[in-house]
């Protein structure tokens, strides 16, 4: 089976006034289908930038990102949007639910955008996934009536309801306390194992990394360890833990 993601020689520059900041200095990375991979690294190391490129919300300055066989830099905005809608799920650090929609509507939204699903089938899928993430009771609530952990569960449901090929999560636990964060990551892991969804998430939290099947270490815009040799040893205490910089 081919890799879902192939990142080859990717450079990403951000314009900064007349200058530009190089956030990624030539990254190579391959993610296979079904993986549960963490991108680890200190704040400012380029995790978000990398996820943006893989998530088709941005394109590289140089090099290629191949997502499910498509070279992202060759696609139009419209095509990238379609790709995200059909094949990707997103989980954000700040949950990013639509404040004026109910939990149910938030999860229903991607299915409505996709179209082509009958009313009953759509409703059933929304209810099922909300039950699966443990939010079945809060279907009619607005996001601001829920706790952070509950909101992130809704976000996971929203990301998974379309049955995407890849779910990206940028620091999904950074705004949660450690217990809740652990539960959220546990849920993601379960979904990975039961449903075979590929997960790629970034974090700088060591306890969260423990759960990853593979840890890709990023530093100063470079992949310093792509975790292919198996699980990064826990003895990685050598790699100085970065204090949470939020």
């Amino acid at each position: 089976m081919s890799a879902i993601i192939e990142v080859q020689g990717v450079i990403k520059d951000y314009p900064l006034g007349k200058l530009s900041v190089r956030a990624l200095h030539g990254v190579d990375l391959t993610i296979a289908r079904g993986e549960f991979t963490a991108i680890a690294g200190p704040s400012g190391s380029g995790k978000t930038t990398l996820l943006n490129l893989i998530g088709c919300v941005d394109v590289p300055t140089e090099g290629t990102v191949v997502f499910d066989g498509a070279v992202t830099s060759k696609l139009s905005d419209r095509e990238l949007t379609r790709l995200r809608l059909e094949k990707l799920g997103f989980i954000f650090q700040s949950f990013n639910l639509v404040a004026v929609l109910s939990v149910f509507q938030n999860v229903e939204l991607p299915l409505l955008l996709q179209g082509g699903i009958g009313n009953d089938e759509r409703k059933k899928r929304v209810v099922d996934i909300l039950d699966r993430v443990g939010i079945g009771k809060y279907i009619g609530h607005r996001p601001n009536e829920l706790s952070g952990g509950q909101r992130q569960r809704v976000a996971i449901a929203r990301a998974l309801v379309t049955r995407p090929k890849l779910v990206l999560a940028d620091e999904p636990t950074a705004n949660l306390d450690s217990v809740t964060g652990g539960q959220i990551l546990g849920l993601m892991k379960e979904l990975n194992q039961q449903q075979g969804v590929t997960f790629l998430f970034s974090t700088h939290d060591h306890r969260v990394m423990e759960l990853a099947g593979r840890i890709v270490q990023v530093q100063d815009g470079r992949v310093v360890d792509d975790g292919k040799q198996g699980k990064t040893p826990t003895s990685a205490s050598a790699a100085a833990p970065t204090p949470a910089a939020h």
Binding site: T48, L51, T81, R84, L85, Q93, S94, V100, Q105, L113
Partner: protein, 449 residues
């Protein structure tokens, strides 16, 4: 539609903002509908007034010139002309004739220029159904009994009588029962006078009544020493006023075939032709002139156009304020919701849908607020109309073509006002919406700070 739901819910969520802009839209639409109703009311006054006071639906007027610089309003063999009209226009319901003169009314304490209409009382049911006797306060200063009306239209059947309008009576300081002198110039340039008694003073019809007075036919015949068979104008009333123009053309063709000389069609009222156009033309003898009520009221249409222009200017000014308000508010909303928009883009919403989202938000606000404003405006217009509020300012009466506020709320005007303001509202949101559509999905990933 989920976009609709998001747009509506966002409006409900920012209640203060929505209420503020909604109130503004409500108010402007209300005002717009009031102004349109007023315009429709004045138009109504014009149609009803012009076709009763100064014109038939179609008219045959005549001009006589004994020398190239002369001009006199008259037709000869009026009975033959009436028969021609009947023959040419089978749908004519009423055919009457009036004599026309121009002169001065002189009272003890003042004088006014006026058109003089010589009428047969029995022919003029339409005219007298339009007119009402004026209360004393309309023409006398500090009357003992302000609401008192005196006189009687039917007294115009008696010889040497005159009906004045309140505005004239006020200038003349005349009262029902007073004797006034009419002074005119005859064809040969000699002045002629006649003493007439004021038998009725009618309520003003603005510009329509400013230069009109009514006397029995014989009074005009005497003043100008007309021969039998002479009159001023044949007024024809049709079954359907909408046929006026077509009927005019048929009548013109008919009269041409019968060998009558006619003036070229010219959409001017008779007095402009009498005083300006005809004296400047180089011919002598008699010519007929067939016109419609719209031709005769053309100068009044200026009033309506003026009203429309003022309404439009006012509404445009206020709409501009609304545009600024909505566009600012939307810009703020887009800024506040940057992350949400980025998220929607990230999970797969198109740019065009984002654009629609904000346009829809403004359009919903527009249609609800202006819809309510439009209905309220129509309701208030109907209430004002029912209250028959009297206008005491002469300048306003002239423009309103009445001494009473007459508003006609029309469905079409409400629809126009609501459509215009909904469009304005959506258009105002266009640039902020475009800005929202350009927000990149990367924004969704950026951390809260």
């Amino acid at each position: 539609m989920i976009i609709f739901e998001i747009a509506r819910n966002n409006l409900l969520a920012s209640r203060r903002r929505t209420l503020f802009l909604g109130t503004a839209l409500f108010g402007v639409t209300l005002l717009f509908v009031l102004l349109l109703s007023l315009t429709a009311g004045v138009t109504d006054n014009l149609i009803r007034g012009a076709t009763a006071v100064s014109s038939g639906h179609v008219n045959i007027a005549g001009y006589y010139k004994s020398s190239p610089t002369d001009s006199q309003a008259l037709v000869t063999n009026v009975d033959t002309l009436k028969a021609e009209a009947r023959q040419a226009l089978p749908d004519a319901v009423v055919v009457i004739d009036r004599l026309r003169g121009w002169g001065k009314i002189i009272a003890d304490r003042g004088s006014v220029q006026t058109g003089i209409n010589g009428i047969a009382f029995d022919d003029e049911a339409d005219l007298f159904s339009m007119l009402t006797l004026a209360p004393a306060k309309d023409y006398r200063e500090n009357p003992a009994n302000p609401e008192e009306t005196r006189g009687n239209f039917a007294d115009l059947q008696k010889p040497n009588t005159i009906l004045l309008f309140a505005g004239q009576a006020k200038l003349l300081k005349a009262e029902v029962g007073d004797s006034v002198t009419l002074r005119t110039e005859t064809l040969k340039g000699a002045t002629n006078t006649a003493d007439v008694t004021v038998v009725a003073i009618a309520r003003d019809l603005g510009l329509l009544s400013g230069f009109a007075s009514f006397v029995p036919k014989q009074a005009v015949i005497d003043l100008y020493q007309f021969k039998p068979g002479v009159s001023g104008v044949v007024q024809i009333y049709l079954k359907d006023i909408k046929r006026s123009t077509a009927a005019m053309n048929e009548l013109r063709a008919h009269l041409a075939k019968k060998g009558y000389a006619q003036l070229e069609h010219d959409a001017q009222p008779f007095f402009i032709k009498l005083l300006q156009t005809v004296p400047g033309e180089d011919w002598t003898g008699a010519k007929l002139d067939v016109t419609t009520w719209e031709d005769e009221g053309a100068f009044l249409v200026q009033i309506i156009n003026g009203l429309k222009a003022v309404s439009l200017a006012l509404v445009m000014l206020l709409a501009f304020v609304i545009v600024v308000g909505i566009s600012n508010t939307m810009t703020i909303a887009v800024r506040e919701r940057t992350r949400e928009i980025g998220t929607l883009r990230a999970i797969g919403m198109n740019r065009s849908s984002i654009l629609m989202l904000f346009l829809l938000e403004a359009a919903i606000l527009g249609i609800v607020a202006s819809g309510a404003g439009g209905l309220a405006g129509a309701g208030i217009a109907a209430a004002i109309n029912a209250a028959a509020i009297r206008v005491d300012v002469d300048a306003m009466r002239i423009v309103l073509l009445s001494d009473t506020l007459h508003l006609v709320p029309r469905v079409v005007d409400v629809v126009i006002a609501v459509a215009v303001l909904t469009f304005v509202s959506a258009a105002a949101a266009f640039f902020p919406a475009l800005r929202a559509a350009r927000i990149t999905p990367v924004t969704a990933m950026q951390s809260a700070e």
